[in-house]
């Protein structure tokens, strides 16, 4: 038998001015099932809340309806009151007679009638409310971080320092990402490697972090708090436990002319290689596509010369299985190559390079030891043209967005060039200058005013080679669109930042959404930038969108804090407004027919298949089952179910139909 208590709030004059609360309360008291109906000036106040507490106790209420403001305001308030009085909070609901009634209509009988209708609707619903309890899901307190660039490293350190275990998986032979390729970082001109290598070492030595390099995520299963991941640790062909990182193998390897990925093609490496001197871990890898042994069965010079006898040609890939509770995706970005630009030579001019390649030239550990030299003939360039927005903001190239970091690094490159070659001429051909961060504008001003970099506003239509020089054809729009032709020794393209290779495949494995550019999608662009729509998977760094180092670090720490919050209890508590597939006694077991339309309709893939078997293991039927950990409670499955076998707790069919019938 329902014993509903109805409380009509005046909300001062907000409701009382247009709606007659006394009349509403009086009408409600005559509704079957309602045993207590009063009105009061301010229900949310202490005395107001006390009214509810006392009524629950004295009248043994089985449900409470507060007719006042929007539930989006005070539902938690009143639910808490009920919970504290011993009444299940989900037996308390609010009728919105303020935003939806008193505030939008004039004072009249019609308005009061409407208020009565609105309260009546909620009363009928609450009569059919069932008590619901928060769902508890166990949590494995280990985090998986995918990607070992600055964002992945930061996230790993933060989570590990909070006392939780971290598994860090990196595809390349060493962690470091793109940041370790940079020479100096804006706006401070800090040496990138100097600030990064300590972090990399910290990751390697941290007791809570397990580092798997030259590894990739193979498969992911499970749900928040309970993921099962399979990691493929690719074969290095080197026994890491025996190898001392002495480097003799690299010195002896006869294959020396392989373009180095770390040098962005500006330098060479050997077939057995450590990508760079400060690599973490400092253990080599054999590039099977270029090693003479793997190609032709010959050589083996490294094996013969290794003092630690660490070479293992027969080493195979290893699959490592792990249980994790949360995942941080920090897979970073890539940049377009010069071959994406027909108007700048289809990549055939050696002296037309990308910004990343320029970083390697400028870097003290680079192929030219930090001297800016033309790749073609090794001479110092007297004139360099930097072309900004190469590919970005260009619908014709299919990239409409701004890559964010290029204005800053172009200014930086121009400055570094001028610092190294004082008499050199630097031109920057730009569309706009975007320097919005802290100390960024001052940095660009410094390039223009102190270092004498020439900024020409106008796009470059063509670059071609003539007599060993590069002719750059651009325009100066600030001088009335005058054509400009510059004879340069080198051209640096600030190419667009794009999603890293394999981003789409990884997103599909993780079941995370991604956009048309293969950047991973955040849950809400403004308020939830580090979460995805997949519960338990977080984002950090440029895999979400191009960004600079301070933002990547901030986002990584943000993601780490979300993970720490997730790990703060032994169990995860979730709101029980979720769908449930019915179960009933044998021989029916469930009215679900196993058509699994709900499985396809669910935006969160929260529907699983459950096999109902006899005691002997014989299969009777396969029915749908809702995963409590994932279901968000949207109710789409309820509407598509043909047999009405699935229902939404809190908005069940019975409840909603009752609401409609009350009108």
């Amino acid at each position: 038998m329902s014993r509903i208590g109805v409380f009509i709030c005046h909300c001062g004059e907000n409701i009382a001015a247009t709606v007659d609360p006394v009349k509403v309360a009086e009408t409600m008291s005559r509704v079957p099932g309602v045993v207590h109906a009063v009105d009061y000036k301010y229900m949310c106040s202490d005395p107001g809340q006390n009214l509810i507490i006392e009524a629950i106790k004295e009248k043994g209420l089985t449900g409470v309806v507060v007719a006042a403001c929007s539930p989006r305001m005070h539902e938690p308030t009143f639910r808490k009151v009920c919970a504290e009085s011993g009444l299940n909070p989900f037996l308390c609901e609010m009728a919105n007679i303020r935003e939806h009634c008193s505030w939008v209509h004039e004072k009249s009988d019609i308005t009061t009638d409407k208020a009565i209708d609105l309260v009546r609707v909620i009363v009928e619903k609450v009569k059919r409310n069932a008590p619901l309890y928060d769902i508890k899901v166990p949590v494995t307190k280990t985090a998986l971080v995918i990607g070992g660039g600055i964002a992945g490293i930061q996230a790993s350190l933060d989570i590990a320092n909070a006392g939780h275990k971290v598994i860090l998986v990196e595809r390349d032979p060493s962690i470091g990402g793109h940041m370790i390729q940079l020479s100096e970082t804006f706006p401070t001109l800090d040496c990138s490697q100097c600030i990064m290598t300590p972090r990399m070492v910290e990751v390697a030595q941290h007791p809570n972090i397990t580092l798997y390099t030259y590894s990739e995520v193979e498969e992911l299963d499970g749900f928040i708090g309970n993921f099962k991941v399979k990691i493929r640790k690719k074969a290095r062909s080197v026994d890491e436990n025996l190898c001392t990182g002495c480097g003799v193998c690299m010195q002896k390897c006869p294959r020396k002319k392989i373009p180095s990925e770390y040098e962005a093609g500006m330098g060479m490496r050997t077939a057995i290689y450590i990508p760079f001197a400060q690599a973490v871990p400092n253990k080599p890898v054999i590039d099977k596509d270029n090693c003479l042994y793997y190609l032709k069965g010959k050589c083996k010079i490294c094996e013969k010369n290794c003092p630690a006898e660490a070479i293992r040609f027969d080493q195979e890939d290893e699959i490592i299985e792990a249980d994790v509770g949360a995942i941080v995706c920090a897979t970073g970005f890539d940049v377009l190559g010069t071959d994406s630009f027909p108007e700048y030579g289809y990549g055939k001019y050696k002296d037309v390079i990308t910004g990343l390649q320029f970083e390697r030239l400028a870097s003290a550990s680079g192929p030219t030891l930090g001297e800016i030299r033309r790749p073609s003939d090794g001479k110092e360039p007297e004139t360099i043209v930097f072309i900004a927005c190469a590919g970005s903001r260009d619908p014709a190239k299919g990239i409409e967005y701004c890559s964010k970091i290029c204005c800053m690094y172009t200014a930086k490159h121009a400055m570094l060039y001028k610092h190294k070659i004082h008499h050199g001429k630097a031109y920057v051909c730009y569309m706009d200058i975007r320097a919005g961060g802290k100390m960024y504008e001052e940095f660009v001003r410094r390039a223009i005013e102190e270092d004498g970099v020439n900024y020409i506003r106008g796009r470059v239509s063509r670059v071609y080679e003539q007599d060993g020089k590069l002719i750059v054809k651009g325009v100066d729009t600030l001088l009335g669109s005058q054509p400009v032709e510059i004879e340069a020794d080198m051209v640096v393209l600030a190419t667009a930042a794009v999603a890293n290779t394999g981003a789409e495949d990884l997103a599909k494995k993780l079941r995370v959404s991604y956009d048309a550019y293969n950047f991973l999608a955040e849950a809400h662009p403004k308020l939830r930038p580090v979460e995805t729509n997949t519960a338990g998977i977080f984002l950090a760094g440029a895999c979400q969108a191009p960004k600079d180092i301070p933002e990547a670090v901030a986002q990584a720490s943000g993601a780490a804090s979300k993970v720490s919050a997730l790990f703060s209890g032994d169990e995860l508590s979730r709101e029980p407004v979720i769908a449930v597939v019915n179960r009933c006694p044998p021989p029916v077991f469930s009215t679900c027919e196993g058509c699994f339309i709900c499985e396809q309709a669910c935006p969160y893939q929260a529907i699983e298949r459950e096999e109902i078997k006899t005691r002997d293991g014989k299969l009777i039927k396969v029915v749908a089952k809702v995963n409590e950990g994932i279901c968000q409670g949207c109710g789409t499955c309820v509407a598509v179910c043909r047999a009405k076998a699935i229902d939404l707790q809190g908005f069940s069919n019975e409840q909603v139909y009752a609401e409609v019938m009350a009108l």
């Binding site: 027909p342 108007e343 030579g345 289809y346 055939k348 001019y349 050696k350 002296d351 073609s376 003939d377 063509r462 071609y464 080679e465 003539q466 007599d467 060993g468 590069l470 002719i471």
Partner: protein
């Protein structure tokens, strides 16, 4: 190979060498051409500057006539005609309303089955395995292949070759024994229709093209378009006056170069009609030092030691 043939106004007028040399080489390379009966002018730049419907109706009529004659593919040597026919077909197939309107104007129902082919892709199809044997007098010269603007643009419509650095003509020239150079002005503007109204601009723009070709050691410029030919050949004198240099670099239609390689006579290929005499002085010293240090593919002008 049998194709429909649309010469257009220039090939029967100022660019008759193109027509004559094409018809001269056709039997030698296995090409049979059937001219579209009662063809009209394509409208060129004049029509599309003045009236949109006219600019579509004129080429549409040509294509509709081809359709009526049962031709599926039509060779259109002139780049402007080719461009107009290709663009018209594209626009009418995209917009049903427009197609109906234009069909109404020309009083023929244009279905879109007849397609224009440009000279480069046609020759590309014809020059298959073993064609080199037919070239009894290989065209052993350094050549600069000039494509002009209309064969490769707009890329989305003509969908032909790399639009900043096309290679199709270069490949054809290689097959006839020529040595195409890598140069920077393959698709740069020659001044086009300003040939008469602003000859000074044509001199400037065409001048850059000729200068680059000669500088990189070309002995001839090969073209596939009557307008290109006019500006580079007929206006070469003006260019020389502007630049204060003597170039005397012959400008040949690719069909003429092919004809010479096939062993045909100069007169048959109408080489005598050109303004700049088609003569190739013997090469004593290596052509201009354009040894570019940057990697640009095969750089011509370097004599094999």
């Amino acid at each position: 190979m049998k194709l429909g043939y649309y010469p257009g106004c220039s090939l029967r007028g100022t660019a008759r060498e193109f027509d004559e040399s094409l018809l001269a080489i056709a039997p030698g390379i296995g090409l049979e051409l059937e001219e579209i009966p009662d063809w009209n002018c394509c409208g060129a730049s004049a029509a599309h500057n003045l009236n949109r419907e006219l600019s579509l109706a004129l080429p549409a009529r040509v294509l509709a006539l081809a359709e009526k004659a049962g031709m599926e593919e039509v060779l259109v040597p002139c780049s402007m005609c080719f461009n107009r026919l290709a663009v018209t077909r594209h626009e009418l197939l995209e917009d049903e309303e427009l197609r109906k309107r234009v069909s109404d104007i020309i009083k023929m129902d244009y279905q879109g089955t007849a397609r224009a082919l440009n000279i480069l892709e046609t020759l590309g199809k014809l020059f298959d395995e073993g064609i080199e044997d037919k070239f009894v007098k290989p065209f052993d010269h350094e050549v600069a292949c000039y494509y002009g603007c209309l064969i490769v643009r707009p890329p989305k419509i003509v969908q032909f070759d790399r639009y900043e650095d096309p290679q199709s003509m270069d490949e054809l020239m290689k097959k006839i024994g020529a040595h195409p150079i890598d140069w920077a002005f393959k698709v740069e503007c020659c001044g086009a229709g300003l040939s008469i109204s602003r000859t000074d601009l044509v001199a400037k723009l065409s001048g850059k093209i000729i200068e680059d070709a000669v500088h990189r050691g070309a002995e001839a410029i090969i073209v596939a378009c009557p307008m290109c030919h006019a500006n580079l050949d007929m206006r070469q004198e003006k260019v020389e006056k502007l630049k204060g240099k003597k170039y005397s670099i012959p400008v040949l239609y690719l069909t003429q170069a092919i004809g010479l390689a096939l062993g045909l006579e100069k007169k048959k290929l109408s080489l005598h009609r050109h303004m700049v005499p088609v003569v190739f002085p013997p090469r004593e010293k290596p052509a201009i030092e354009s040894k570019s240090k940057t990697k640009t593919g095969k750089v011509a002008g370097q004599v094999e030691e």
